[in-house]
Amino acid sequence: MSDYISHDHEHDGIDRRGFLQCMAWAGTGLLWTISGGVLVSKTLAQVAKAAEPLAATDLSFLQISDSHIGFSKDANKDVTETFKIALDRINAMPTPPSFLIHTGDISQLSKPEEFDTFDEVLKSCRTKDVFYVPGEHDVLNDGGKLYRDRYLKSVEGKGSGWYSFNKNGVHFIGMVNVLNLQAGGLGQLGDEQLEWLETDVKDLGTSTPIVVFAHIPLWAVYPQWGWGTSDSERALGYLKRFGSVTVLNGHIHQVLQKVEGNVTFHTAMSTAFPQPAPGTAPNPGPLKVPAEKLRSMLGLTSVKYLQGKSSLAVVDSNLS
């Protein structure tokens, strides 16, 4: 069964079921709270009015993605600048996030100088802890060696760089699905990583909130463009018994969301350039938009976890 649009009567790219599953199509700047599989949304403006400081035990973190440092074509000639703007937004938050998650494609071409620029700019961010997973652009020529040398210093990376850690009672799992890809296939986790995952979560209680992050979506967003992971079902099988699973991905440079049982899938905007909605262009290459519109299609994702509640709130905000 396809998770994507099956009935497009209005030719607007949305059917009823697709609309309910992917309500983030309605635009960014919505707050998502997930409770027992029921999705509730509020606009960012409503959230701002109701904003209260987080209790000391609560957790907030931020997802940034697809910086593509080194990209300089028409879709965005200055991706370093828009990355800086994203960091400025983080620095301006009333409650700074505990840490950042970068869901891959730090660089455009895996070049050391691109990574250097990224690291240099990142120094301006007041949140210092960053957890990484690689995008295919970060591992182009060396199987990810340079990426691992630079970005896995603070974690115990296994295999090609996957790992897990705990924060405030939430179990985080960083996965790699951009290496050893097979001809004709999609993103791939591989047997070794899947076996590790099974063991990693084996002794956790079902009430432990789980956050999985990886570059390529772990759900079939649009396989025709390679927007999916061939063996993600097996990974999700190991996570089925948990009451709250939040899956954060990048790669497709736009916000899409889907809820399936207790699992919420979410993709983030890029800080570099947008990509077309699934199937709306001849190919998934960079989407050129008028300069004044660009920043509204770039952004970051803030995630909050309130201690004692089973749900995580995911808020996307753009850079305009």
Binding site: G184, G185, G226
Partner: protein, 122 residues
């Protein structure tokens, strides 16, 4: 006035002859290349696809891929029959020399949906 017109016609005729001669030389050059081993077999990478998707060449001929997308692509032999390319940025090219006769399947390791085939004949 008549003289001028005649001169113009002569000039036009001369340039036509010159042009044709050059064309003939160029054509001869091309034909010579076909007999040699450096015939250019080009595969254009555009819209996340290899064009042509299947290319038939003779053993010893060169095959060149050129990337016309804004996204980097690679050329990787499925059966590891030839050394893989590094990531090709826009307008960058990668060339191999066709070896033993046979079928060589390849793909882009960045976008594995992109696949192609080189058929090498004797």
């Amino acid at each position: 006035m008549i003289t001028v017109n005649t001169k113009k016609k002569m000039a036009a005729l001369l340039s036509t002859i010159t042009f044709l001669n050059l064309s003939l030389f160029a054509l001869a050059g091309e034909m010579k290349n076909v007999d040699n081993t450096d015939k250019q077999n080009k595969i254009e990478i555009k819209d996340f696809a290899f064009n042509p998707q299947t290319l038939t060449v003779k053993s010893g001929e060169k095959v060149t891929w050129i990337n016309r997308d804004e996204e980097p692509h690679t050329i990787v032999s499925v059966e590891k029959q030839f050394k893989k390319s590094t990531a090709l940025d826009t307008d960058q090219a990668f060339t191999i020399t066709a070896g033993a006769p046979g079928t060589y399947n390849y793909f882009c390791s960045v976008h594995p949906k992109m696949t192609g085939t080189i058929v090498v004949e004797k």
